[in-house]
């Protein structure tokens, strides 16, 4: 656990990046709600050919894990290929967090943002 709530993760949750609405987004997700009550909504801007992501913003309320995960995701998405992002999974997120294992119960928190992003990207 002490590994889980390491300083970078807490920092990411305390001061989450790219939180807020994006009015000129190319794709916007409907509010996604986890069974634990955490929720988020994502906004993504794409290049004209829709192959690359240029920016992502998000809104939502949740625990430290889902918040930090969304914040990191918003950093990593910039400039990424859509084709690449749809292949990301929990291991991708864990590698950013520098973690090898993760509690089964909290996987939903970890994956809330990524799942939401992947869902909207499927539609572009």
């Amino acid at each position: 656990m002490d590994d889980l709530y390491h300083e970078e993760l807490l920092e990411a949750a305390r001061d989450p990046h790219h939180k807020g609405e994006m009015l000129d987004a190319d794709v916007t997700s409907p509010p996604e709600v986890n069974s634990c009550g955490d929720s988020c909504r994502v906004f993504v801007r794409l290049t004209a050919d829709k192959k690359h992501i240029t920016a992502m913003k998000w809104q939502g309320t949740g625990c430290v894990i889902s918040t930090a995960s969304l914040s990191l995701l918003s950093d990593h998405l910039q400039g990424e290929q859509v084709a690449e992002v749809v292949t990301w999974d929990e291991h991708t997120l864990l590698s950013w967090l520098g973690l090898k294992t993760f509690s089964t119960a909290r996987k939903k928190c970890l994956l809330l943002g990524l799942n939401t992003v992947q869902k909207v990207l499927e539609k572009v």
């Binding site: 807490l10 634990c36 009550g37």
Partner: protein
């Protein structure tokens, strides 16, 4: 003498789990731990008695049938009921589903009302929503007061609506801890709505309080064995015998074991109530385990079990209300004569999500529940996204609550709030 420290030694989990004796288990409302006598009873059944019931004339089958009947009788006695009134299910949820299928589908019609409350566990809500879809009935919810008690004005008003056919209410709320004055409410229901049927969800009361089906005047009473020191996979519903005799409640599972005669044209069901509702091979071993749990609890004396729970609840309320970051959920002000709160204390932590609180507590060996505890309508009503719940059983001590409070200091330190 009721001594939780000695009782704790009867529960092998406290020596065999990875955290060993350090484990502070405050999640008994989700499921309780099991004493060695329950585990032994199950093993012994399989070692000495295992055979199918009501099927063979051989000695072993006969013995197994006897053990099944004896276990049912022990479980029924624990609830001050007759064993003919007991229908064994897997858990509370399956029991409520059974009432919906076996009673609701045959007795409700469009325009009827099913009355439940905003403090119910999802199992006591979703089954009725589905029954309403099937029959055209509607579900109404009794409101709550700000302090987390049933709003008696709302209760009376809803009970006065036309065609309320069922009142389905928990005895003790799994999130608020509220103990509903169930006998009084049942009496009021019968006065305001003649012919109404009442279902009592005793999932959270049976582990802590003496529950008498005979005295309650309820039509249905449901419970889960795994919350009252018994194994997982067994629970049940007590049904008032008149409803079984009149066929107002009908079987909802069909097949072997529950029949009188089967022909290719059709089937008649056995008159024996306990068999009519036992389709297929029952979980005899779990019944044996639950009977052992009932005996274990009876030996401790349910009045002492209840007093111990009360001591823990009051101690927890006292200690937790001294933590400034917490907002405690459920009743906290009590009359001189009665504390209407049982089994648990839940709270929210200002500025920290419930899962994060629980995760930090886990790191210091304190196991609590976080989330919505299957009471989303209740959480929505009060505007909580999620809460943390500490719940108790016979093996808990005030030291466990002290460990919880110490763990909350670590939460403050980790999240700096």
């Amino acid at each position: 003498m009721f001594n939780p420290l000695t009782i704790r030694q009867d529960f092998p989990i406290f020596t065999h789990n990875p955290q060993g004796d350090k484990l502070v288990y405050l999640d008994s409302a989700a499921t309780s731990q099991k004493p060695q006598v329950v585990l032994d009873a199950i093993t012994q059944y399989y070692q000495t008695t295992n055979a199918n019931v009501h099927r063979g004339v051989h000695q072993l089958s006969d013995r197994s049938t006897q053990v099944w009947d004896e276990s049912r009788a022990t479980i029924a006695k624990f609830f001050d009921a007759h064993s003919d009134e007991l229908i064994v299910t897997r858990n509370t949820t399956e029991a409520i589903n059974g009432v919906a299928y076996g009673w609701g589908d045959h007795n409700l019609q469009a325009g009827d009302i099913i009355l439940t409350s905003l403090m119910e566990h999802h199992s006591n809500i979703v089954c009725w929503q589905e029954l309403a879809k099937r029959t055209g009935a509607s579900v109404e919810y009794i409101g709550l007061t700000k302090d987390g008690r049933l709003d008696r004005t709302s209760l009376s008003a809803k009970l006065s609506l036309p065609k309320v056919k069922l009142l389905a209410l928990s005895h003790v709320s799994n999130t608020l801890g509220t103990l509903n004055p169930i006998a009084e409410i049942i009496a009021e229901a019968h006065t305001l709505q003649s012919g109404i049927r009442v279902l009592v969800d005793a999932a959270q009361s049976a582990p802590h309080l003496p529950v008498s089906f005979a005295k309650l005047d309820a039509d249905f009473l449901v419970f889960s064995g795994h919350k009252m020191l018994g194994p997982m996979g067994i629970g049940g519903v007590f049904v008032r015998s008149a409803l079984l005799q009149s066929n107002e409640v009908r079987p909802w599972l069909f097949g072997g074991g529950m029949i009188a005669a089967v022909t290719t044209k059709g089937t008649t069901f056995t008159d024996e109530a306990s068999e009519r509702f036992t389709a297929g091979t029952p979980d005899v071993a779990s019944a044996v385990g639950l009977a052992a749990a009932c005996e274990y609890l009876s030996k401790l004396h349910m009045s002492d079990v209840g007093q111990h729970d009360l001591d823990l609840v009051l101690y927890a309320l006292d200690k937790l209300s001294a933590v400034p970051q917490l907002t405690i959920i459920g009743p906290q002000d009590f009359s001189e004569t009665e504390v209407d709160r049982v089994g648990s204390v839940a709270f929210t932590y200002n500025g920290v999500h419930a899962h994060d609180v629980a995760q930090v507590l886990d790191s210091v060996g304190v196991a609590v529940r976080s989330g919505h505890h299957c009471t989303m309508p209740l959480h929505e009503q009060f505007g909580w996204t999620a809460s943390v719940r500490a719940s108790f059983n016979v093996y808990n001590t005030t030291a466990d609550i002290d460990a919880l409070v110490a763990g909350l200091a670590k939460v403050r330190q980790v999240f700096n709030v």
